[in-house]
């Protein structure tokens, strides 16, 4: 059976903050983050991996979200703590 490469979770958590830092005043959907993570991480990243990494960042106070009622989805952004972590003033 072929070995399945899993993403390095600490790396993925950092990559998610890096993606949100590309446009720090904007909000990102899960699909946008998933797509971006797959462009930045050398192994395939699944939606569950992204959700776990987002939740870790949420628990650490680096990211937060708003619920978009019109689109029925959460949209994510960097908090002040997340901005500081990414070196953004």
């Amino acid at each position: 059976m072929p070995k399945i490469n899993k993403p390095d979770m600490p790396l993925l958590r950092a990559k998610i903050r890096e993606v949100l830092a590309f446009a720090p005043t904007r909000k990102f959907t899960e699909a946008m983050i998933l797509d971006a993570a797959n462009r930045l991480v050398p192994v395939p990243v699944a939606l569950d991996d992204v959700r776990r990494a987002i939740e870790w960042n949420l628990g650490s106070g680096f990211v937060d979200y708003v619920f978009n009622r019109d689109e029925d989805r959460d949209e994510w952004f960097l908090t002040d703590r997340g901005l500081a972590k990414e070196g953004i003033k």
Partner: protein, 183 residues
């Protein structure tokens, strides 16, 4: 701790990063190896040794950054124009800017992302019959992607034309809104 070599590239000044990307995009010719091989040669000549993998990761990172930066600029411009047109409704203008950002950022990736965004909505409802119905909708959404891309491209052209003329008139804003409503 030793810095990752793609981090070294990411920390270079913006103009230097653009130069590396230009090297990587250089086509192969009789006198030039072109592509990543050429970029690695040039970096080595400048005393910066990086691996092919690091260069490849830097290239992906830079392109993604550009995509989001372009989408953000477009969103800011659209919001500013909306504010100028209707100063009393700043919140709506910001929402419009976010809408333009999301549409532009997704457009610059691939049609599969459009479908993925729709698919994520389904995660909240696991009923099998509903899923089957939504699958049909997704297939239809997939076919609509090409049409949506054209419409967004058209909206982008209107914004660009307005930028070149120094700003939007009420007429161009109306045209832009008309294009976007078709989404």
């Amino acid at each position: 701790m030793k810095a990752r070599s793609d981090s070294k590239l990411k920390n270079l000044p913006e103009e230097r990063q653009e130069q590396i990307i230009a090297w990587a995009k250089t086509p192969k010719s009789e006198t030039c190896t072109g592509g990543f091989a050429y970029a690695l040669e040039q970096l080595a000549a400048d005393g910066l040794k990086v691996s092919l993998r690091s260069l490849s990761e830097f290239y992906s990172w830079w392109e993604l950054k550009q995509d989001f930066s372009d989408a953000d600029t477009l969103g800011k411009f659209a919001a500013d124009q909306m504010k100028a047109f209707d100063p009393a409704n700043a919140a709506k203008a910001e929402a419009f800017g976010q809408f333009i950002f999301t549409g532009a950022a997704v457009r610059q990736k691939d049609p599969a992302t459009f479908v993925a965004m729709q698919r994520l909505k389904l995660d909240k409802d696991s009923a099998k019959t509903r899923f089957a119905l939504e699958e049909q909708k997704l297939k239809l959404a997939g076919r609509r992607v090409a049409v949506l891309e054209k419409k967004l491209e058209r909206a982008g052209q209107i914004v660009k034309a307005a930028q070149e003329k120094g700003g939007m008139t009420p007429e161009t804003l109306a045209r832009l809104e008309k294009e976007l409503k078709m989404l």
